[in-house]
Amino acid sequence: MGTRNYRRKTSHSEHGAGDGGRTGSWRVERPVLDPSLCIPCKRNKEACFICWLFCPDVVISRTIPPTINLEYCKGCGICAEECPTKAITMADEAKFAEEDKE
């Protein structure tokens, strides 16, 4: 099912991070994870992962600690909203602009 040829004639994207382009630059706020509050980090156990489950762009990994792919994270803030222990907070992207320069 599915030949490369036909797929290339249409706009066809598959399930996975970043198939809509490098959307990280759209971000106004950046999600920051505090491992001291994060359930899998604290228990060193595969647990919770609500951030991974809810991320609409599939950029959060199901690992300990969960990692966020900032190339593609649009900064929607759903992970921060859903995190039951408030381990993820949204920080102003301008704050990181200086750091990124260095």
Binding site: Y6, H12, S13, D19, G20
Partner: protein, 399 residues
């Protein structure tokens, strides 16, 4: 088998023979008897298909787009304002490269409200990326529907099969009904390269960025412009596939014709009257009369309007003194759309050769105004004598 039926029934029989498996349509005059016929076939179990009644033409084509994306051979039909209401989905179907076949039973568009025949509806959809074929009789309607599916599925581009409302849709004519086994052999079941399937999920035609991008497999995926350029390339190449369709069809059914043009008494003609659809057959009567008077005139029916057979048309008109384009539609503010396209083809292939014909444009039958053969003959007679006007001239106008 020869039968006598109306044009809408010819289209419905074609769709049935092609084993379309999803039909979605909203009734509109003069297309209604076509969809009624199809719903009857489905209801009686003569056709194994899902007939989906919808609340609008926009939804009708949306259903076909979804069905075609899932691998079903889909059909819809409409006319006039129904087609205009569908316009957004018309563009979508071609951009998504879905081989849907749609019959457009040509009718004038409102305002003012009018249910009679002209071709403003389908001509206004010229730039939507669909293949457009015009039929001049019932045999062409049924044959074109069958060829249209073969062509559409080879090039992944939707096809509009256009025929004049009432003049063809509601009149009865004898035609050959192809044998079902023959049609099955000509047109194998629809096997798309890709179709939506739970095991192979995908996003189709979501926001596509201006630039190219890396896809999830790490391969470079096209941006919007590449996808659109491929549609244009494939539409131009579809002329070749259309010629193959014609050859293949002739092998099965014995009816072979030039795929793009339908010339009548053109070989020794000094003047050629050009048109789309049933009016070209009426002009044959005029040409016969004028020939008796000694006017060397022929008629050229243009069957494919998009992709435009520019090279074939220019070659066929090379060396003629005059070309008379008679149209049932108008690009308001300029001239007939076929007129403009034809002139650009002549410019491309004949400019500088010293054999550019004089080209004139006539507008006829707008909103179903009767085209009297006497008037048409008189028009062609006058046009053959010399240029009547730079602007399009309306035939039968009482202003």
């Amino acid at each position: 088998m020869h039968i006598i039926e109306n044009g809408n029934a010819a289209a419905a029989l074609g769709v049935k023979l092609c084993r379309a498996s999803v039909i979605a349509a909203y009734p509109i005059t003069p297309q209604t008897p076509l969809t009624e016929k199809l719903s009857e076939y489905v209801e009686l179990g003569e056709m194994k298909a899902q007939y989906i009644p919808v609340e609008s033409e926009h939804s009708a084509l949306a259903v076909c787009i979804a069905a075609s994306s899932a691998g079903a051979r889909s059909f819809t039909a409409t006319s006039a304002n129904g087609l205009l209401y569908m316009h957004e989905q018309v563009q979508w179907a071609s951009g998504a490269r879905l081989p849907i076949v749609m019959c457009v039973v040509n009718r004038a568009v409102g305002a003012p409200w009018n249910v009679w025949n002209d071709q403003q509806d389908s001509i206004s959809q010229r730039d939507t990326g669909w293949i457009q074929i015009y039929c001049a009789d019932h045999q062409q309607i049924i044959d074109t529907v069958i060829k249209a599916y073969w062509l559409a599925e080879r090039v992944s581009i939707p096809v509009m099969v256009c025929y004049d409302g009432y003049i063809l849709s509601h009149t009865f004519m004898p035609f050959d009904l192809p044998e079902p086994e023959q049609v099955d052999a000509f047109l194998p079941p629809f096997k798309p390269d890709y179709f939506l399937h739970p095991q192979d999920p995908a996003n189709l035609n979501t926001v596509t960025l201006p630039d190219v991008r890396m896809d999830v497999r790490g391969e470079l995926a096209h941006g919007y412009m590449e996808i659109r350029c491929l549609l244009q390339e494939d539409l131009r190449n579809a002329l070749q596939t259309a010629a193959e369709a014609e050859k293949r069809f002739a092998g099965f059914f014995g009816r072979e014709a030039d795929p793009f043009l339908e010339p009548y008494r053109c070989d020794d003609a000094e003047h050629v009257a050009v048109g789309l659809g049933s009016i070209t057959y009426q002009m044959r009567v005029c040409a016969d009369r004028l020939r008796e008077e000694g006017v060397k005139i022929g008629v050229m029916g243009v069957r494919y309007y998009r992709p435009f057979p520019d090279e074939a048309l220019a070659a066929a008109l090379k060396g003629k003194k005059g070309v008379i384009v008679v149209e049932k539609a108008l690009s308001y503010g300029y001239e007939g759309a076929l007129m403009s396209d034809l002139k650009s083809a002549l410019y491309e292939y004949l400019a500088g050769t010293g054999s550019l014909p004089v080209v004139q444009n006539f507008i006829a039958g707008i909103g179903g105004r009767e085209i009297r053969t006497d008037d048409l003959t008189q028009t062609l007679r006058a046009a053959a004598k010399g240029r009547v006007s730079k602007e399009p001239v309306w035939i039968g106008l009482r202003l």
